[in-house]
C-alpha cells in the first residue's frame, strides 16, 4: 500500500534574515569607521604637531585656537587625540586580531584532536594565563625595549590564552554534534572539520568575545603607557593622555575629558556593533 504524504507542502516558514543591521549596530559601525578614518588620516588633519608646546598656559580652556584645550605642558589636546587614535585603535586592533585568530584556531584544533595534544596545549596556556598581564608586559618591554610591534605582540600574547579557552570550550561542544561525527565518518581531515564544520558555528560567540577583548586591550595598553612602557613620549595613546592630564581635573581643565570620551566612544561602539551583528553571522542555529 502506498500512503500519500504531503511532504513538500508542509514547510516551515522561511526566516526573514540577511545582512541587515539594527540601528544600534549601525551607529556602532559608524563610530568605529570614524575612528578608523581618524587613525588613518588624523595626523594630517592635526592643526599643531602633537609633541609641540604651543601654549604657555598649561591646562588651557577650550578656545577657538585650541578646540579641546591644552594639556599639562601646554600642548594641543585635539592634535594629540588625532595622533593618539593611530596608536590606540591601531595597536588594539592588531593585537586583538592576532590574539583571537591564534586562540580560536588553536582552540579548535585542540578540541578536534583531543588527547595529549589538547592536554599539553591547554595546560601550557593555563600556566601562561597565571602570569599577571601587566607584569608580563613589563618584563617583555624591559627586556627587548618598547616599540609598536613589541607592544602588539605582547598584548596579543596576553589575551591569546583566554581566547583559546573560550574557543576550545565552544568547539568541544560543537565537536560532539552528529554533523561533525558524520563528516569524520566520511573521512574528512582535521582542517575541513575545523574550518567548515566547527568554525561557522562558533563564530557568533567568538566575535562577541573579540569585542570584549578589544576593550581590555585598550585598557592594558593604557596601563602600560602609565608605567612608561607603552607608546613613548612625545607621542601618546588615549590612555596615556588621560593619565598625564589627570591632575587637571581638580583645576577644572577639559584636557582629561576628551581622551576619556574618545576611549568610551570607541569601546562602547565596538560592543554596540558586536551585540547587534546581523543574525546571519551571530546565530546560525535559529
Amino acid at each position: 500500500m502506498k500512503r500519500e504524504h504531503p511532504i513538500a507542502a508542509s514547510q516551515p516558514e522561511r526566516n526573514a534574515r540577511g545582512y541587515t543591521f539594527s540601528w544600534v549596530g549601525r551607529i556602532g559601525l559608524l563610530i568605529i569607521l570614524f575612528w578608523a578614518l581618524v587613525a588613518l588620516i588624523g595626523p594630517a588633519l592635526a592643526p599643531y604637531p602633537p609633541g609641540e608646546i604651543v601654549d604657555w598656559d598649561y591646562f588651557g580652556p577650550v578656545s577657538g585656537k585650541y578646540w579641546m584645550g591644552t594639556d599639562y605642558l601646554g600642548r594641543d589636546i585635539f592634535s594629540r587625540i588625532l595622533m593618539g587614535a593611530r596608536y590606540t585603535v591601531g595597536i588594539a586592533f592588531c593585537a586583538v586580531v592576532l590574539a583571537c585568530t591564534g586562540g580560536v584556531f588553536m582552540g579548535m584544533i585542540a578540541a578536534v584532536m583531543g588527547g595529549w595534544f589538547d592536554m599539553i596545549l591547554s595546560r601550557l596556556l593555563d600556566a601562561f594565563n597565571g602570569i599577571p598581564s601587566l607584569l608580563f608586559g613589563l618584563v617583555v618591554v624591559a627586556a627587548v625595549g618598547s616599540s609598536i610591534p613589541v607592544l602588539v605582540l605582547t598584548l596579543a600574547a596576553i589575551y591569546m590564552p583566554g581566547s583559546y579557552r573560550f574557543a576550545r570550550a565552544l568547539a568541544v561542544n560543537v565537536n560532539t554534534m552528529d554533523f561533525v561525527t558524520v563528516a569524520r565518518a566520511r573521512g574528512e581531515q582535521t582542517g575541513y572539520l575545523i574550518l567548515r564544520e566547527i568554525f561557522p558555528n562558533i563564530l557568533g560567540p567568538v566575535l562577541a568575545d573579540l569585542g570584549l577583548r578589544f576593550v581590555f586591550i585598550v585598557l592594558v595598553l593604557s596601563g602600560l603607557s602609565f608605567l612608561g612602557l607603552g607608546v613613548q613620549p612625545p607621542y601618546a595613546d588615549w590612555g596615556a593622555l588621560v593619565r598625564e592630564n589627570i591632575e587637571g581635573l581638580s583645576l577644572g581643565a577639559p584636557a582629561v575629558i576628551f581622551p576619556s570620551i574618545a576611549i568610551a566612544s570607541l569601546t562602547i561602539s565596538v560592543n554596540m556593533l558586536i551585540d547587534n551583528l546581523p543574525n546571519k553571522i551571530r546565530d546560525r542555529r535559529e
Binding site: R3, R14, E197
Partner: protein, 555 residues
Amino acid sequence: MTNAPLVTVRDLRIGATTDSGRKVEIIKDVSFDVAPGEIVALIGESGSGKTTIALSLMGHTRSGCDITGGTITLGEDTVTAMTERGRARLRGTKVSYIPQSAAAAFNPSKRIMDQVTEINAIHRLMPRSAAEAKAVELFRALALPEPETIGERYPHQVSGGQLQRLSAAMALIGGPSLVIFDEPTTALDVTTQIEVLRAFKSVMQAGGIAGVYVSHDLAVVAQIADRVIVLRGGEIQEEGRTDQILRSPTHAYTKQLVAAFDPVPHASVAAETGVSAKPPILEVTNLHAGYGAIHNGEPTFKILKNINFRLERGRNMGVIGESGSGKSTLARAIAGILPPYQGTILLDGQEMRGALKGRSKDELRRAQIVFQLADTALNPAHSIGNILGRPLTFYHGLKGAAREARVIELLDMVHLPATMRHRLPGELSGGQKQRINLARALAAEPELILCDEITSALDTVVAAAILDLLKELQQGLGLSYLFISHDLSTVEAICDDVLVMLMGEVVEALPAADMSEQATHAYSRLLISSVPRLDTGWLAGLEQDPALVAQFAKR
C-alpha cells in the same frame, strides 16, 4: 449531578507571539468535556497542540503563549476567569500534572519523600505525618518496591520507571480530581512501560480520578483511555470512544494514524537464488567494543561482547533492544566511529580496519551512517546544497554544474523539491531533515546504510513515510540496511532478519516476519510481548512470567 462533566472546555483559543512579533493561533476553537473518573487521551503529532491544551486545563500556558478566548471550567471553578493566585491554589489540589521526563522533574538533591509531599507543604492540607502515611499508601498502590522506605532515597537511587511512578504519587498526594499525563511513558523502555501503565490505570480507577492523557502513541492510549481526541494543527479532527477510533476511524488523518500502526510485512527485494554466490555485504565476527581508558588492549567500559552476524547483499538486518543494550554502539563500531578492540568486520568480503584512519576512502564511501536526531546531524551553518554536495566532491570529485545537477537528483530521490538546496537546515521540518540525512548518505553511492533509530524522533505518519522511502530506495539502488530501532513494528516493516540485543550481547537472531512465533530466548519473548498492541484489552489480558520480568526488565 453525576452526569455533569468535570471539565468543560468551550471554544478554547490559544495564541502565541513569535520572536518576530507576529501573532499565531496555536489552538483554534477547541471544545470538549471530561466526565468525572474518565480518562481522555489527546493524540496528535508534534506541534498539534496537545500539550498546550493539557497545560491550559491548569490555567497555565508556556511562555509566549496566551489564552485568547473561550472558557475552561473545572468542577465549580472557571479556570479562565481566575487570578493567577486562584489558579495556584487550584494546582496540586484539584488538578495536577505528570511530566514526560520524571528524571528532569525531580530535584536530585532532595529526598523523594520531601518532594512527593511538597504539594501538601505548599497548600497545608494535612499534618506532615499524615501526608507521609498517604504517600506510602500511594507508593504501595503504584506497586513500588519497599513502599515504606523508598521515600528516604534520592531520585538517582531509583530506576526510570520507578521515578515515573513516584511522579504520579507526587501528582496524586493532594487528592486531585483531574490528573494531566504529558507523555509519561514515552521515554521509557517497553518492558518498563507496561508496569507504569498498569500502576497508573489501577490508581486512577481506584480513586475515580479523571485524567487527560497526552500521547503520540495510539497503542499506549488504547490501554488507558476511555475516549480519544485526535488533534492536528490545533484543531480537533475526530473524537470518540477508544475502540471506535481504533476500529472504525472516520477522519482521514485518524485513518492514516491507525494505518501507520499496521505492520506492513516486508517483502525482501534480494533474489533468494544466487545470494550465496557473492560474499555478504557485511560480516561481523567476534566483535568487542567499549569506552574509556584502554588497559592491556581492553577498554574500561566494555559495551559490546562477542557480536557475530552476516548481512547478505540486498537484505536488511534489524537490531532491537532496550536503551543501554548497545544497539547504537554496534552501529558506531561498524562505522569506525568507535573502533572495536577485538573482532573483525568484513565489508563485501574484505576486512576493514577498526579505526576511521585505517580505512580507505572507498571503504568509508561504501558504508554510510544515518543518525537518530535529524537536526543535530545537519550543520546549521551550511545550506542543503552544500551538505549534499560535500560527499559528492569528497568521494566523486564532482564540481560546479555536475555537482549541482546531482544534488537536484538526490533531492528528487528523497521526494524533496530542487529549490530546497538553497535553504538552511533550520528552515526544514523534522521529516524533511531526515530525508536530507538519507540523501547525504545516498550521495556517497553506498552499498550499506547503517540506520541508527532514524525514525524514532519522528511523528508516526512521517516515520511511516520515511520507511516507505527506504524501501523504494532499496529497490532502485540495491542497498542493504542495518536498521537499529527500539520499535518492533518499525523493524518488522523493513527488515528480513532481526538481532535481539541485551546488555551488549546478541541473545537471538530471528526472522523479522514471525518474531513472536520463533523467539525462544526468554528475553526476546519478554521484549516482543511487551510491545503495546492496538487493542484496548491488551494490557488487561497480558500475562508475563514474573520471574522473567524480574530477571530482565529494569523496573
